[in-house]
């Protein structure tokens, strides 16, 4: 009965358009009152849920990303990617995808990737005779790569939602190969579609020019090295590394690129406040919600239900994947991670799946959900940048969805893709 109150209130509020954070908090409050517990517990949980040092990495990484984006880093990354792969078949499509790999090392946000790189690439692609649908397809689906390449704050959200014991360093490392694999499969899709439509390629600029482009982008790209070495070596905590990243981003954009002025800085700070407050409020309220899930033994019940369904981990993983894809089409990524991790992670581990591996599956899976209707924030950003209807884009997006889904299946069923790289560093 308590479960009905919890999920019933949650679902009702969600359906009438209440912000997700408050759906979680209010349904927890209603359940606590129904169970005759003191309501103050809920607010205590919310407050302690956001008073965690490890959470600080999320605002810092988002802040660093905002500073880099407003400091015009995307243009330099696109230029570098252009020099590297512009001469391949489907030229600017390949450039778009490669730029997402580089951008992923700066910012972990798919929406930021779609608007920053899409804003530069889509007009350029239109001009060179590429179809707008193709330009938007490539931009939208390739922005999932940014979620996989470190620093990915969604991996941190997963680590915290999983109880804070899953190593962020391992999660960051585990995302790299799957992220690159996704890039390769999307490049193949972009190549095939471009070949059929006869899209042009760009001339190779020569190694001298390429060196110049690289030099231009290096200060930004060093960021990924700083973060990675900092977190991986264990010298700094993830929160400290991310703070260094934010300070470094500020220094680079002020002194090296000279693109940061006061109004850009204020805009970046406000954007970071808006995004982080929204995400962390969800995490705080989910702490109260998750505490009730544990009290009401939802995870253990879920394991029993799944075991009754099948005892084959392959089937269970497929089931969880399909469920997450379904939920992901309706809801945004970060709330889904905080809500579903406490429920599905125990199931996955009960079937012998490594928590780090499961994190990679989840982030990739929900990343695909960001590009699907009816609720797909990244898809909408891409369509808005390309000034094209969602329906028109969906007609030709299938090769790219296909590539992303194929990668998801490979990542799900070949654990080594996620776990091999972290095992070398350990």
């Amino acid at each position: 009965m308590e479960l009905w109150v919890l999920f019933g209130t949650f679902a009702t509020l969600l359906l009438i358009g209440t912000p997700v954070a408050f759906c979680l908090g209010i349904s927890a409050l209603a359940t606590v009152i129904f169970m005759d517990l003191p309501p103050v517990v809920v607010f205590q949980r919310v407050n302690s849920g956001v008073s965690v040092f490890a959470l600080m990495a999320i605002p810092f990484f988002i802040f660093a990303g905002e500073l880099m984006v407003r400091g015009d880093i995307a243009r330099r990354l696109v230029a570098l990617a252009g020099g590297l792969v512009g001469h391949m078949r489907g030229g600017l499509g390949q450039v778009n995808i490669s730029a997402s790999i580089l951008f992923g090392g700066i910012s972990g946000s798919a929406a930021a990737d779609a608007s920053a790189i899409g804003g530069l690439m889509i007009p350029q692609m239109k001009e060179r005779g590429y179809g707008v649908d193709y330009a938007v397809n490539v931009t939208v689906v390739s922005s999932i790569i940014a979620l996989m390449i470190p620093p990915s704050h969604n991996m941190i959200i997963y680590s915290i939602a999983g109880g804070g014991r899953i190593s962020i360093a391992d999660l960051f490392t585990a995302g790299i190969l799957p992220g690159l694999m996704l890039a390769v499969s999307l490049m193949v899709a972009a190549w095939l579609v471009a070949a059929r439509r006869g899209y042009p390629t760009e001339p190779f600029p020569g190694f001298r020019a390429l060196g110049g482009l690289l030099l231009n982008a290096v200060p930004g790209l060093l960021l990924i090295l700083i973060i990675f070495i900092g977190v991986r070596s264990g010298v700094f905590t993830a929160s400290e590394s991310s703070c260094i990243a934010a300070v470094y981003a500020l220094l680079i954009t002020v002194f090296a690129y000279r693109t940061m002025n006061w109004s850009n800085f204020v805009a970046a700070t406000f954007a970071a406040v808006r995004t982080t407050a929204m995400v962390l409020m969800v995490i705080g309220c989910a702490a109260a919600f998750g505490w009730l899930l544990a009290i009401l033994k939802v995870p253990t019940t879920m394991i029993e239900v799944m075991k009754g369904f099948s005892d084959n981990p392959i089937v269970i993983l497929l089931l969880i994947n399909l469920l997450l894809i379904f939920l992901g089409t309706f809801m945004d990524m970060s709330p889904l991670i905080v809500i579903t991790t406490p429920i599905f992670l125990p199931v996955a581990t009960a079937f012998g799946v490594d928590p780090v591996h499961f994190g990679v599956i989840m982030v990739l899976n929900l990343g695909i959900g960001l590009c699907t209707p009816p609720v797909g924030a990244v898809l909408f950003v891409g369509c808005a940048v390309g000034k094209i209807g969602v329906g028109q884009v969906l007609k030709t997006i299938w090769p790219f969805y296909g590539a992303a889904f194929a990668t998801l299946m490979l990542v799900t069923y070949i654990p080594a893709l996620s776990l091999w790289l972290p095992s070398i560093f350990r």
Binding site: L13, L14, I16, G17, T18, P19, V20, A21, F22, G25, I26, L29, P39, V40, F43, V46, N47, V50, S51, V52, F53, L55, M56, P59, F60, I62, F63, S109, A110, A111, A112, H153, F236, S239, E240, C243, I244, A246, V247, T269, F270, A272, V273, R274, T275, T276, A277, M278, L280, M281, G284, F330, D332, M333, S334, P335, L370, P374, V375, A377
Partner: protein, 173 residues
Amino acid sequence: MQDGLERVARIMGQLATAALWVAGAALALMTAVIAAQVVFRYGLNSSLIWSEPFAIILMGWFIFLGAAVGIREGYHLSFDILIYILPRRAKLWLFSISDMAVTGFGMGMVWFGSQLAGSAWNIKLPSLGITGAIDFAPIVGGGVLIVLFSLERLARRAAGLPTSRFGDTAEAV
């Protein structure tokens, strides 16, 4: 009624802007504090004992203030499929029910947050040397603004004025 609400909107707008500046300053200060912690620990080999608890309090401020401004500006993540297919009048009613629920939760943040602050009043935080009640100040402050901004939404809707929709400007993260 509408003139009065426009005046209210100006004041609330200024309040939201002020809250955003405080939240932004808290984020910038938090960055400086943790950067200082890193410099002291690895550069000067002496740890700051107050940096982490202080930064966590700053984080509390920008989360709860930012979440409150999100109520007014409509940048919270939400789900609006059902809402799309309903007739306008029904939609507005449901939005109002939602705003009332959020108001209630905001009141809870103020009331129970104050209760928690009261019970921590006599506990002195060892690292900062001040009362433990400070840990609960952000949830109370944010709660006050959430109540104010939600009530403004309800009043504006009752008067037939527009309110920002959740999800309009939501960024996926």
